[in-house]
């Protein structure tokens, strides 16, 4: 049972197991937590609305880079009209969900972890237990659900703004014909591609939110412990998002 002496694979497996059990605990209490929508709405605001500015800014810049890069590459082949296709598919399928999830982990995930960790280190969670209130139901579930709901909304916002940024560079600045730009995009993008982005952002929402609340709830209740837990949230959820992205991309390609 001594987790300090475990080898790396065993420790990783142990953590995956513990997180899965925690997810089951969280899901089991989701029913009763839904009776208190106010708590969840507040967490959607905390995780979602407060991440909006950074998501929109990043989306804009990513879109503009795609516009530049696409134009540079495609003009070598005389096919600048395809800039829109690259921007749309790249954003919808990969960049939108992945970059949103990474930013979300850094902005909202760390905030969740440090907030719950601080509540633990100041005995607020114990105090709740002493008042016969289950802290998983009252603290963890609303934050998990808030993150889970906010993440796809943020990913959608990111994607839309990135598409605008790409056309800003491609069409407005580089002078690609807007008719060709949009018709090529429309031809290339299938509803399936949108669906892929939606599924990814839902999965990433679960992953990042779960890691964040898990790390906070299991943080060592000291200042060092909370700091360490916050770092772990970023590292674990980022790696997890990139790994899941690969698996999901492969899965969508094989079922094509």
């Amino acid at each position: 049972m001594n987790s300090a002496t475990d080898s790396l694979p065993v420790a990783a497996l142990r953590r995956i197991g513990a997180m899965t059990l925690f997810l089951v605990q969280v899901l089991a209490r989701t029913g009763p937590a839904l009776l208190r929508p106010g708590l969840i709405v507040r967490q959607i605001y905390n995780a979602g609305a407060r991440s909006l500015v950074i998501i929109m800014l990043s989306g804009m810049f990513v879109g503009m880079v795609l516009g530049l890069l696409g134009f540079d590459v495609f003009q070598r082949f005389g096919s600048e009209d395809y800039v829109g296709v690259l921007a749309a598919l790249g954003n919808l399928k990969v960049l939108g969900p992945v970059l949103t999830a990474l930013l979300f982990a850094g902005r909202a995930g760390t905030a969740l972890t440090s907030e719950i960790g601080l509540m633990k280190s100041t005995e607020q969670l114990t105090a709740m237990q002493m008042m016969a209130v289950d802290p998983v139901r009252y603290v963890v579930v609303p934050r998990f659900l808030g993150g889970f709901i906010a993440m796809p909304l943020l990913a959608a916002t990111f994607t839309v703004i990135a598409l605008y940024g790409a056309q800003l560079i491609g069409v407005q600045q580089m002078g690609v014909d807007p008719g060709a730009y949009w018709s090529q995009t429309q031809n290339a993008v299938d509803l399936r591609d949108v669906w892929e982005g939606v599924v990814k952002s839902l999965v990433f929402g679960v992953a990042v939110s779960l890691v964040a609340v898990y790390e906070g709830f299991h943080a060592v209740p000291t200042p060092e412990g909370v700091g360490l837990a916050t770092t772990r949230t970023v590292v674990t959820s980022s790696v997890l998002v990139l790994l899941l992205n690969y698996l999901l991309t492969a899965a969508f390609l094989t079922t094509h």
Binding site: L118, M119, T122, E123, Q124, T126, A127, M128, Q129, M130, M131, A132, V133, Y138
Partner: protein, 270 residues
């Protein structure tokens, strides 16, 4: 009332160890109805652990812990939560919920456990806040309170469900003399006016002497002395005298166990 039914909390021959280190080695303690019982002892003697055993946050490896005559370790989760609704606990730093203001903190247990109309909640919260002298601070956030005020709010929250037992975990730590006096007075007041059985864990000998009816001195995993604070103050036992008198050296040694001083200094590098 008989002796037995008078005991609200009974701890009998309790043994408890963490990571192979024995914290309790046969502890017997009784907290009686309507009295203030103090647990004293040097830091690290497991005073707070004792509270965790009484409130069912941890279980003894041997012995029995009974509250209202019921064995805590045999309770189901539901029974434990029912027991905790009859207990109020004041944490070292208040443990107020940081995202709620003072009013909502005190209202929290009511909102979670009782489906009361808002005017009644308001009345209950304001009377409890008035009792601790902080009715005027109802709309402040916990971050705007001083340490002493936070603890008074926590006290109002602890009594809002009208508990039978109030547990205070180190209520005097880090307070200035005025706040200490206020908390002291409140503990006495809650006990006398509401007839609440109180358990106070602390190492502030002088404050406890003015309020406690019974006191227990814990050291080295055992109860080394018990009685009224006066009896403890007059005790001739070395452990009791060291603690009550605040002596640097005694049965609790000043030096952490180490090799012989002279040989270590002369022994060169190690």
């Amino acid at each position: 009332m008989t002796e037995a039914s008078d005991a609200i909390v009974e701890v009998r021959d309790v043994h408890y160890a963490v990571g192979g280190r024995a914290i309790f080695d046969g502890v017997d303690i009784t907290a009686r109805r309507g009295r203030i019982t103090a647990f004293m002892g040097p830091s690290g003697t497991g005073k707070t652990t004792l509270l965790r055993l009484i409130t069912g946050q941890a279980y003894a490896s041997r012995g029995s812990v009974r509250v209202f005559g019921e064995e805590v370790s045999k309770m189901s989760n539901r029974e434990l939560f029912a027991l905790r609704r009859r207990m109020g606990m004041l944490f070292q730093n208040g443990a107020l919920l940081t995202d709620l203001d003072v009013y909502e903190n005190v209202a929290f247990p009511l909102r979670e456990h009782a489906d009361l109309p808002e005017p009644l909640v308001r009345q209950l919260v304001l009377t409890k806040l008035h009792a601790v002298g902080l009715r005027g601070a109802a709309r402040l956030m916990p971050s705007e309170l001083s340490g002493g005020m936070a603890r008074r709010v926590a006290l109002a929250r602890a009594i809002v469900m009208d508990p039978d037992i109030l547990i205070y975990d180190e209520p005097f730590v880090g307070l200035d003399p005025i706040s200490m006096g206020v908390i002291c007075r409140l503990i006495k007041q809650m006990n006398e006016a509401l007839g609440i059985t109180s358990i106070v864990v602390s190492h502030d000998v002088h404050e406890l002497a003015t309020i406690a009816h019974d006191s227990y001195l814990l050291s080295g995993g055992k109860v080394v002395a018990s009685g009224t604070p006066d009896e403890l103050a007059r005790s001739e036992r070395a452990e009791v005298r060291q603690f009550m008198g605040g002596l640097a050296d005694g049965p609790v040694a000043f030096h952490y166990p180490a090799d012989d001083y002279r040989s270590e200094l002369l022994g060169g590098s190690k």
